[in-house]
């Protein structure tokens, strides 16, 4: 199934390059060569054994190599999920940054650059050349290599030294197409020393076709910088969302990442956080609510390269019907990373006998003075708690709901944008009630 893309690249790489900035093209041929060697990942690979991508990758997708503008009014789609959070608002449609005339965005603090990565690569090549592909090019991952070969656009954000963004940056990523469609976006986020930013990315799908998004996001968090990354996925069942998030943390930086899958088709999140300076703080959370045939695999790595860093990881899944969940918590503590403290928890509830969860902590510790722990559980709802509630007049269905909601609560509590936290609480509750929290633009979810 790779062959069609290999042929496509060989035949059209000139067109791809013609519509892309030089900085992005520099890595392109190398990425392609890597992909030819690695191919798409299969379950035979240890890192992909919970992600069976054979079926979605076999679908014939269109790519928009010649960058034909796609007609869409993003505001029509965006009546939905997280309104009313006071944010700077941006759109990416498929893999193209979509410029809108948003009055509130004019008040961005001085020096902050946000826009299309392809355009910024042409207008400020100096900003990209040290960063673009720096984390992704060594990843030895077929999907990442594929992205390097085919990515032509994406979201770019630069926050200069000591600049604090007063409001969250909200990126709405909309998949819109009349035919089966594949998007390879490459996002780049740079926070200089002492900068602060909150970033929220919402994934939505609009049309009743098969979508495959293969996204790579690179984030550079400078010394003393603070970065929060929230990803809210609410896509339809015909979507395959392959997302690689690579974060590099410098000394005394603070990162919170929280990935929430409310509704989807097939999702693979690869998250790698490298702690490349001392005294870093990292909190990585995630939550999955799955039913029908949904698949979600969160493959996470936290790499402690330097001493005196703290990391904490918390993932929770509630799975029903025939849904499948996967979680890998890789923790690497380098030989010199003494005084590391790293805690990992993955807890899962299976609501019936057909849902499946596979979880794997994977700790590699080469330092000898560290505090590390991990715990993984798979269980059912607490029957005694349910009966206790029923004995107070609460119906069984409401009791189940309260218990599921309570279970996911600590992940939601780790959202530090209050309006977003409230909104997600509401969405989770609606989702658990079976009133789908889909966006109004969605056509096929039911």
């Amino acid at each position: 199934m790779e062959q069609q893309y290999i042929d496509l690249y060989k035949e059209h790489h000139e067109s791809i390059k013609k519509h892309s900035a030089e900085v992005m093209n520099e890595l392109r041929d190398n990425s392609f060569a890597q992909f030819e060697k690695l191919r798409f990942p299969t379950v035979m690979l240890e890192n992909y054994k919970y992600s069976d991508l054979k079926t979605p990758l076999a679908i014939d997708y269109g790519l928009n190599i010649n960058r034909i503008p796609i007609p869409v009014n993003p505001y029509d789609v965006f009546k939905c999920d997280v309104p009313g959070i006071n944010s700077y608002l941006f759109f990416v449609v498929n893999d193209a940054f979509y410029p809108v005339n948003e009055p509130r965005n004019k008040k961005l603090p001085k020096g902050v650059i946000i826009g299309s990565i392809n355009e910024v690569a042409s207008s400020h090549p100096e900003l990209l050349k040290d960063y673009y592909g720096k984390l992704s090019k060594t990843k030895n991952d077929g999907l990442v290599a594929f992205n390097g070969a085919f990515a032509q656009d994406g979201f770019f954000m630069y926050v200069p030294k000591n600049v604090v963004l007063d409001k969250p940056i909200q990126l709405v990523n909309i998949m819109r197409s009349d035919v089966n469609f594949m998007a390879n976006s490459h996002n780049l986020i740079i926070l200089e020393e002492g900068a602060k930013a909150q970033f929220l990315i919402c994934d939505h799908t609009v049309d009743d076709v098969n979508f495959l998004s293969n996204r790579v996001t690179e984030v550079f968090v400078g010394e003393n910088a603070t970065y929060e990354h929230y990803k809210l996925e609410n896509t339809h069942t015909k979507t395959t969302n392959l997302s690689t998030l690579l974060i590099d943390q410098r000394a005394s930086s603070n990162v919170t990442a929280n990935v929430i899958t409310l509704h989807n088709g097939i999702t693979r999140n690869t998250i790698e956080i490298d702690l490349d300076g001392e005294h870093c703080e990292t909190l990585l959370c995630g939550m999955v609510i799955g039913d029908k045939n949904q698949q979600v695999d969160n493959f996470t790595s936290i790499i402690h390269n330097k001493p005196n860093c703290n990391s904490r990881e918390l993932f929770k899944y509630v799975l029903d019907d025939l849904s499948k969940g996967g979680f890998t918590g890789k923790l690497y503590v380098a030989k010199d990373a003494q005084k590391t403290s790293a805690f990992q928890t993955n807890r899962n509830i299976l609501l019936n006998k057909t849902a499946k969860m596979r979880t794997k902590p994977q700790l590699e510790i080469y330092a000898d003075d560290v505090k590390c722990s991990h715990g993984a559980t798979i269980g059912q709802l607490d029957e005694t708690a349910k009966f206790y509630m029923q004995s107070r007049g609460i119906s069984e269905s409401e009791a189940r709901l309260l218990l599921m909601f309570a279970f996911t609560n600590d992940v939601i509590e780790n959202i530090r944008i209050p309006a977003l936290q409230d909104r997600i609480k509401l969405l989770v509750e609606k989702r658990l009630r079976g009133e789908l929290s889909k966006c109004e633009g969605c056509v096929i979810c039911q």
């Binding site: 509630m389 029923q390 609460i394 069984e396």
Partner: protein, 251 residues
């Protein structure tokens, strides 16, 4: 109000209740005493609808309705309240949310509108005072990290909120120090009206110093083998249960 007739119940195939009969009328307090393993807690579980127990024979009629056909939540909405011997901790579910949901489900059952937020909070405040409960309770998860005494107070607090017609107190005194026991018993006494009734299940006479029963029943080997007034409790306290066992087993 409540008629239990010839009730038989099993758990895991083992028969625990073997033909228990009991009648409770409004305004009455019944104490059920008995040695360990007699079936006291089983009676409480069966009345509240715990699925772990299987009723094999007998009837339970509550205000004309067949109680055994009702779900646990409907029994509660009909006015049955069980104070658990071991109240359950529910991390992540706040007391406020839990209580508001319960109360409004009761109201819905009676075709009443949900209670307004202000009325609800005022009611919570009033009822908390009844059991001298810590005021920050509302923000905590149900029973999570509560001491033994706080958990039992919380049971009586919930009872006050739901205003049941029949309350069943299952070993409410177990694990309580004397102060907590007094507070819990005071709460129960204040909630007493001529219209409601209580079944107090206890192993010791101690609680009955505070909650004075109209009737005392001795449960042994799955049946009520002796009934009397409150003086029976004192006799049991003094002489233990052996004489009753001998009386029954010797039959």
């Amino acid at each position: 109000m409540l008629q239990i007739k010839n009730l038989h119940a099993n758990i895991n195939g083992k028969e625990i209740l073997k033909g228990l009969s009991l009648t409770v009328r409004p305004g009455e307090i019944h104490a059920i005493m008995g040695p360990n393993g007699a079936g006291k807690s089983t009676l409480a579980s069966v009345l509240s609808g715990n699925q772990a127990f299987e009723v094999t024979k007998g009837d339970v009629i509550f205000y004309g309705k067949n109680l055994l056909e009702l779900s646990p939540e409907d029994r509660s909405r009909e006015g049955i309240f069980l104070s658990f011997q071991y109240p359950v901790e529910i991390p992540g579910v706040s007391m406020v949310n839990f209580m508001r949901t319960a109360l409004n489900e009761h109201r819905k059952y009676k075709n009443l509108e949900p209670m307004s937020a202000t009325d609800f909070l005022r009611t919570m405040r009033e009822k908390k005072e009844l059991v001298e409960m810590n005021s920050n309770l509302a923000n905590r998860s149900v029973n999570e990290g509560f001491s033994g005494g706080e958990k039992k107070k919380n049971e009586i607090f919930q009872m006050a909120m739901l205003d049941p017609r029949l309350s069943i107190l299952d070993e409410t005194d177990s694990g309580l120090d004397i102060d907590a026991l007094r507070i819990v018993a005071n709460g129960v006494n204040k909630l007493k009206t001529p219209e409601n009734a209580s079944i107090v299940i206890t192993h010791y006479q101690r609680l009955l110093d505070y909650i004075v029963p109209d009737f005392v029943h001795v449960l042994y080997d799955g049946r009520i083998v002796k009934s009397g007034g409150k003086e029976l409790a004192l006799e049991l306290e003094e002489k233990g249960y052996d004489w009753i066992k001998k009386e029954v087993d010797g039959e």
